[in-house]
Amino acid sequence: MQVLGRIVPWIPALIPAALVAAVIWELLLSSGLSLRFYPWPPVFHPPQSFGWEFFGSRWNPAQNQWGIMVFIVGSFLTAVPALFLSLFIGLGIAIASTAYLPKVMTQFLDPFVDLLAGIPSVVYGIWAFIVVAPYFGHVVNPWVYDHFSVIPGFGGTPPSELGTGLPIGIFVLTIMALPITTLLIRDALQSLPKDLWESGLALGATRWEVMRRVAIPHSTRGILSAALLGFGRAFSETVALAMVLNIQSGYPVNFYHGTATLATWMFTNLDSAYGNSSWLAALSEMALVLLAISLTVNLLGRRLVSSFIAYEIAGL
């Protein structure tokens, strides 16, 4: 009875772990890895295991080439700039609302940032495609092209009028990662003990100096976790990006060109893969790569989270 009482609670408690394990198990079974590591037949009988070719740069189903490096590069090309933008904007907003704005104004302004977290990604996608993309196509991209084409990667093929491609992808990801970075950094900054804050001011430091020398060093962990979780969000974003990225299976030729990330390529390719077991196996191996990267980033980020706010952010 004693033993039973100790074992029974574990059954429901292990459900989340079991679900994660099921996802990984199923994807392993349906990927080319199954041929290599498992003695029993896999789900789709992939005709080959891909080996290291899988991390090559050629993706061409017609010639049986399955290299996903293009999409890994595409993922980082969109997620990293978006992360830095949203991190700095988030830091600015957090500093403004902690140190500079009166409480009446922050009570009015902060909910807007919270609201950004709640909007479904497909709504972002259709808004960006219909409203923002023409602006990028007619104004932003031509302007950047005219003024910065000297920089390698910013010249070459002129941008299309449609406006879809890398820049708007980065824009959408920035907006989508912004609530996460802002809320986490704000929470970290606000957790600075009031004594430290006031003694800094009493010593004659300005608000900016207390912020720069005391509050920000004090909340390094929070900022780092914001970076990691924001990156996780940007890296695994699917639908909104698929709508604005002008999906291509090659490396982008310049800044304005379309590209594909791991998630968007998986999302838009499942239809065409139906019935082709190599293709399905390659896609599920891609899913494993995406899962590995985003789980690592997410878990690291959560280890660092200094407080409980993460639970309140929708989608985290």
């Binding site: 609302s97 500079y100 940032v113």
Partner: protein, 310 residues
Amino acid sequence: MATSTPTGSVLPRDEVLFDRSLRTRWRLGFDRWIGWLLPLLFLVAIVPIVDLVYFVVRAAYPVLSWGNLTNTQPYANQNGNAVGLALIGTFDLMAIATAVAVLLGLFGGIATAEFLSERSAGWVRTSVNMLAGTPSVVVGYFGYFAFVLYFGWGLSLIAGALTLSFFMVPYIFRTVDLAYTSIPRPIREAALGSGARPYQYILKVGTPIAFPQVLTGVFLAMAIGLGETAPIVLTTLPSLLVPSSLNSGVTFLTYLIYDGFNHPSTGPGSNELAKAFEAAFLVMMIVIALNVVVRVFAARYKKRLEGLYQ
């Protein structure tokens, strides 16, 4: 008063009280300017959200009508932008997914909070975070491979609902766990000390206290589930009929939005893009409403909840 400020001070007043050096002026000026400039960054968040809401409302306004919301015919009439089918489909999917997720998350959360040691609970919480951190398209792939192909259910209501529940489990699990963990220790000790069995404590003492918060978690999970698109697109097929069985096709609101983007105008006498706007309006309103409820509730409990799930 006689002892107030001396009139004949040795130094000029300015030099005693105010440091007018260039460095100090720079420090103070920088502080003032940055205080004006940084709040402008709020515009980066406010402009998109206002523009987005304005865009969706404006686009949905001409087609939004009671007739369209309740009409379950796919291509009902000449200007028919009926989303009734999608509303019913969304209700079906969300009902099954929520039921499954509550079933999976509720007991796990209670067990973690009440019966596991601190150390074991930490590991369980990490696994919950892992589930929450799994990218939606990966879960969609799992649903497609496992439910649609391996179990042979096809692109169907049940496959979509079970896949959707994967996204809701971690949120319900977390809030339930937190709700029970954050019940003040004296209450728990009083109950157990006066001879209650653990299950009696949970049913009669813990649950009444934790219930509002559990409900908050369910709302949050529903908001998350409603916003998901990729897994639904991968595991369901929109149907032209009201779903009649677990294996029949079903239309989700977010699917309509993605479909409207993909095929802007298909079908006789119906404009898919208009439907997409209608669906976007509905989804956004429901999700925002759920989020507002969650935030109002959560603000009350926040103080009690610091420090778990690190």
